[in-house]
C-alpha cells in the first residue's frame, strides 16, 4: 500500500494533558508525527490540533477513530492534500554582512514571497508563509548563498475545502460525528 502525507484535524476540550492523550495514540503504533500545530479554534474553549504524518490510509483511519473516541475529543478527521488548503510559516535568520557582500541574496528575498522583519548589523530575519516545498526551496537557496544562520519552520495549519462552515453545529452534532470519518461532506 502507498504511504501518503495525511493531515489530521482534531478538536478537543482545552484541558491540560489533552495533547499527551492524542500523541500517545501515535506513540503506541510507533507512528512518527511529521508536524503538529496546536492552538485555539474559532469556538471558545475548544482547541484545534493539526497533525501531519506519512502513512497508509487504513492505519490513519484507525488512529483517527481512536483519537475521536477519547472522552474529551470533540471531533477528528483526516485529509489528503487535495482536500485542504494549508500553509506553514518559516523564519530564516541570515547574516547581514553576507547580505551586504552578495547582492544576489537581497535579490532573492525581493523576488520570493518572503518579508524582512528585522535588520541589524549582525543579522537579518526573513519570514515566509507558504507550502513546505516553497519554504524548503528558499532555505536551500540561502544555504547555497552561505548566509544562513538559523532556520525554523512551523507545523502546518489547514482548513478543509468542504463548505460546511458552522463549526459549532458540526462539533456538537451527534449524527454527524457518527458518520464514517471519511466522506463527511
Amino acid at each position: 500500500m502507498d504511504k501518503k502525507l495525511y493531515t489530521i484535524i482534531i478538536y478537543t476540550e482545552n484541558i491540560a494533558g489533552m495533547l499527551n492523550q492524542v500523541t500517545a495514540e501515535f506513540t503506541r503504533r510507533m507512528m512518527n508525527i511529521d508536524t503538529i500545530t496546536a492552538s485555539s479554534s474559532s469556538v471558545e474553549g475548544v482547541h484545534r490540533y493539526t497533525i501531519t504524518l506519512w502513512g497508509e490510509e487504513e492505519s490513519i483511519e484507525k488512529v483517527t477513530k481512536r483519537i475521536e473516541k477519547k472522552v474529551d475529543v470533540l471531533k477528528a478527521d483526516y485529509y489528503v492534500d487535495s482536500e485542504i488548503f494549508f500553509q506553514e510559516v518559516a523564519l530564516y535568520k541570515l547574516s547581514t554582512p553576507k547580505i551586504m557582500e552578495n547582492n544576489q541574496i537581497s535579490r532573492l528575498i525581493r523576488h520570493s514571497a518572503a518579508h524582512v522583519i528585522e535588520v541589524n548589523a549582525n543579522y537579518t530575519v526573513v519570514e515566509m508563509t507558504g507550502s513546505t516545498d516553497d519554504i524548503l526551496e528558499l532555505y536551500d537557496k540561502f544555504v547555497a548563498l552561505q548566509c544562513m544562520q538559523q532556520f525554523v519552520k512551523s507545523g502546518r495549519v489547514a482548513v478543509p475545502r468542504d463548505s460546511v462552515e458552522n463549526l459549532t453545529e458540526l462539533l456538537f452534532d451527534e449524527d454527524y460525528k457518527r458518520k464514517p470519518t471519511k466522506n463527511r461532506e
Binding site: N20, A24, R28, K65, V71, D72, L74, F172, E174, R178
Partner: protein, 564 residues
C-alpha cells in the same frame, strides 16, 4: 441558610454515597490519609474492604462491577499504591469494566518536585483509562466524581482514574451534589442508523447460513432477551466469545458453543462456512479470529457495536451498526423473517460431536488415571445447578473451567480476557461474592496465578467472604508448558514449579481446605465445599502434563483446529 462547609475528603464521601456506592476496596497510605480519615465517619454508610495489595483492590472492584453491573471503586495512596493499580486498570480497559480508581497525590505545591511517593499518575494512566483527571481543589470533587461515574458506567464501560491531591483532600469547600448526565464531547449511546439496520435485516433474510457472534457487549447492554428474540425469530445459530459465555444460556437450542483459540469446533469450523456473520458486542479479538487473513473471507459481515472505533478495526465489515445492542437488536428483529435453517444449525452439532469424541469424552470421563481439569469443572458446575458465578484466573484453569462450565444466568463468567492477567481470579472472586452474596462464586485458579495474588486470602479471612476456591494444581505453569510442548520442542523452560503446602497456607488464614488426589473423593469434597457459606479451598491435584484441546494454533486458520 448557607451551604455546608466540608473538607475535600468529606466531599468525596458525600459524592460516593450520592453515586450509590456500597463497597469500596482500598489500601491507605500517606497521601490519601485525609480521605481514609473521612471514611472513618462513614463506616456504616458503605462497606470498607482493606485488601492486601492495591492490585487486588482493582481486581476486586472489577469482580464487583462485572458480577453486578455497578461501578466498582478502589481508593489507594499515591506513588507505589497508585502504580500497583496499573495492571487492574489496564485489565478493566481491555475488558470494558466500569471501575473508578481514586488515588492520593502529593499536594499541588510540590507537584513536579519528585516529592515522596509522587508519580505522574494522570500521565501514566491516560493510555489505559477512559478518563483520567487530577482533582486539585476541593470545590471540584463533587463534579469530578459525578463525571467519573458517568463516564465509567455509560457507553462502552471502562476505568476512570481520579488523582486526588492532598491539599484538595484537606481544604474546605461548600458542598453541593453535582449530577452529570452528559459530556458534550462524548456520545455514549450513538443513534443507530436506520438504513444500516434495514440493510442488515435484508442480509439476514437472504442468508442461508448466518452465524451470530455474541460478545460481552450483550451482557453489558443487558440485551439477553433481545438477543434471544432475534435468533429465535430468524433461526440463527449463535456462538459466544469467552467473555460473552453467559450472555446466552448454554442449553439454549440455538447456542452452538464458544468461539476462539480453545473454543468449540462447530462454531470455529463454521465461521469459515457461513455466508453471514452477525457480530454483536464483540471486537474480533485475535484469540477469536486466528489468522485474520483467512477469517470468514466467504461471508458478509454485520458488526453491531456501541464503540465506533471497533468498526473495521480487525475485520472488514459490510454493514456496521453503531449503537447500543439493546436498542439495535429489536430494530433488526422487527424486520427479519423466520427461515428454516435446520440443516445449517445441525451442522454445528455434527462438528461439536467430533470434538466431543476426540476431546470432551476423555476430558470429562477419563475413567482412570489422574484427575483432569475438565471433569472437575463440569462436576462443580453441575453441583451448583449450573447457576454459580465462574471466576477464573488465566491459563489452562481458565480455558478448562470456562469450556466445561454451563451457564444459565447472566453475568456468570468473570475472566481476564483481553489482558490475560494471572492473579486476576482470587481478588475478582472476592469482589463478585461481595456484590452478589446470594450467588455461589466459584474461583478456578492454577498454582501459578493463585500465588500471584495469594495475599488476598487475608481479605477473605477478615471479611469472611464465602468464595469457593478451586485450585487446579498441576505443578506447572500449565499453559506455557503446553505451548513449550507443542511449539518449543518440549523444552520446559521455567515452567515446572515447586509448590507450597496449600493446606497449611489455608490453615494460616483460617480457611477450610481439602486436598483431592483420587477421583473417588471428588464428589464428596465438592459436597463438603458447597455445604456451608464459608470460604473453602478445594485443592485438586490434576494431571501434570494435560493439554487444553481443541486448539487453533497461533497464526492458523480459525477452522483448522487441532485435537491433540
Amino acid at each position: 441558610m448557607g451551604k455546608e462547609i466540608i473538607s475535600g475528603g468529606e466531599a468525596l464521601m458525600r459524592s460516593l454515597i450520592k453515586e450509590g456506592v456500597d463497597t469500596v476496596f482500598g489500601y491507605p497510605g500517606g497521601s490519601i490519609m485525609p480521605v481514609f480519615d473521612a471514611m472513618y465517619d462513614h463506616r456504616s454508610d458503605f462497606r470498607q474492604v482493606l485488601v492486601r495489595h492495591e492490585q487486588g483492590a482493582v481486581h476486586a472492584a472489577q469482580g464487583y462491577a462485572r458480577s453486578s453491573g455497578k461501578v466498582g471503586v478502589s481508593i489507594v495512596t499515591s506513588g507505589p499504591g497508585a502504580t500497583n493499580t496499573l495492571t487492574g486498570i489496564s485489565d478493566a480497559m481491555l475488558d470494558s469494566t466500569p471501575v473508578v480508581v481514586i488515588a492520593g497525590q502529593v499536594g499541588c505545591a510540590v507537584l513536579g518536585t519528585d516529592a515522596f511517593q509522587e508519580i505522574d499518575f494522570v500521565g501514566i494512566t491516560q493510555p489505559i483509562t477512559k478518563w483520567s483527571y487530577q482533582i486539585r481543589r476541593p470545590e471540584d470533587v463533587a463534579w469530578a466524581v459525578a463525571r467519573a461515574f458517568y463516564i465509567a458506567g455509560t457507553g462502552r464501560p471502562g476505568p476512570v482514574v481520579l488523582d486526588f491531591t492532598k491539599n484538595a483532600q484537606t481544604a474546605m469547600t461548600e458542598y453541593e451534589p453535582v449530577y452529570v448526565d452528559s459530556v458534550r464531547s462524548y456520545v455514549p449511546y450513538p443513534t443507530p442508523c436506520r438504513s444500516a439496520v434495514e440493510e442488515a435485516a435484508a442480509l439476514i433474510n437472504s442468508s442461508k447460513r448466518p452465524l451470530m457472534l455474541v460478545g460481552q457487549g450483550v451482557e453489558l447492554g443487558e440485551a439477553h432477551e433481545e438477543l434471544k428474540a432475534l435468533i429465535e425469530k430468524a433461526n440463527i445459530p449463535a456462538a459466544r466469545t469467552l467473555l460473552g459465555l453467559s450472555a446466552l444460556p448454554s442449553d439454549h437450542p440455538l447456542c452452538v458453543g464458544m468461539l476462539g483459540m480453545h473454543g468449540n469446533y462447530g462454531p470455529n469450523y463454521n465461521t469459515n462456512e457461513c455466508d453471514l456473520l452477525i457480530a454483536v458486542g464483540m471486537r474480533f479479538s485475535d484469540r477469536v479470529t486466528g489468522n485474520v487473513a483467512t477469517y470468514a473471507k466467504q461471508a458478509k459481515v454485520i458488526h453491531i457495536d456501541i464503540d465506533h472505533a471497533e468498526i473495521n478495526k480487525n475485520v472488514a465489515v459490510d454493514v456496521p451498526i453503531v449503537g447500543d445492542c439493546k436498542e439495535v437488536l429489536p430494530m433488526i428483529t422487527e424486520l427479519v423473517e423466520s427461515r428454516d435453517r435446520k440443516e445449517w444449525i445441525e451442522s454445528f452439532a455434527k462438528y461439536n460431536a467430533i470434538e466431543y469424541e476426540k476431546v470432551g469424552a476423555k476430558a470429562l470421563n477419563p475413567g482412570s488415571g489422574p484427575l483432569l481439569m475438565g471433569e472437575v469443572a463440569r462436576k462443580i458446575s453441575e453441583a451448583t445447578n449450573n447457576s454459580a458465578i465462574l471466576v477464573t484466573d488465566v491459563g489452562q484453569n481458565q480455558m478448562m473451567s470456562s469450556r466445561y462450565f454451563k451457564y444459565t444466568l447472566p453475568r456468570s463468567i468473570l475472566t481476564s480476557g483481553g489482558l490475560g492477567t494471572m492473579g486476576y481470579g482470587l481478588p475478582a472472586a472476592i469482589g463478585a461474592k461481595m456484590a452478589m452474596p446470594q450467588r455461589t462464586v466459584c474461583l478456578f485458579t492454577g498454582d501459578g496465578g493463585f500465588q500471584m495474588n495469594i495475599q488476598e486470602l487475608g481479605t477473605i479471612m477478615e471479611q469472611g467472604t464465602g468464595v469457593k476456591m478451586i485450585l487446579l494444581n498441576n505443578n506447572y505453569l500449565g499453559n506455557v508448558r503446553q505451548w513449550q510442548e507443542l511449539f518449543f520442542d518440549h523444552r520446559y523452560s521455567w515452567t515446572p514449579m515447586l509448590n507450597p503446602e496449600y493446606s497449611l497456607i489455608a490453615k494460616g488464614y483460617g480457611i477450610a481446605s481439602r486436598l483431592v488426589v483420587d477421583r473417588e473423593e471428588l464428589d464428596d469434597a465438592i459436597r463438603e465445599m458447597l455445604s456451608t457459606d464459608e470460604p473453602f479451598l478445594l485443592h485438586v491435584a490434576v494431571k501434570e502434563e494435560d493439554n487444553v484441546m481443541p486448539m487453533t494454533p497461533p497464526g492458523a486458520t480459525v477452522s483448522e483446529m487441532i485435537f491433540e
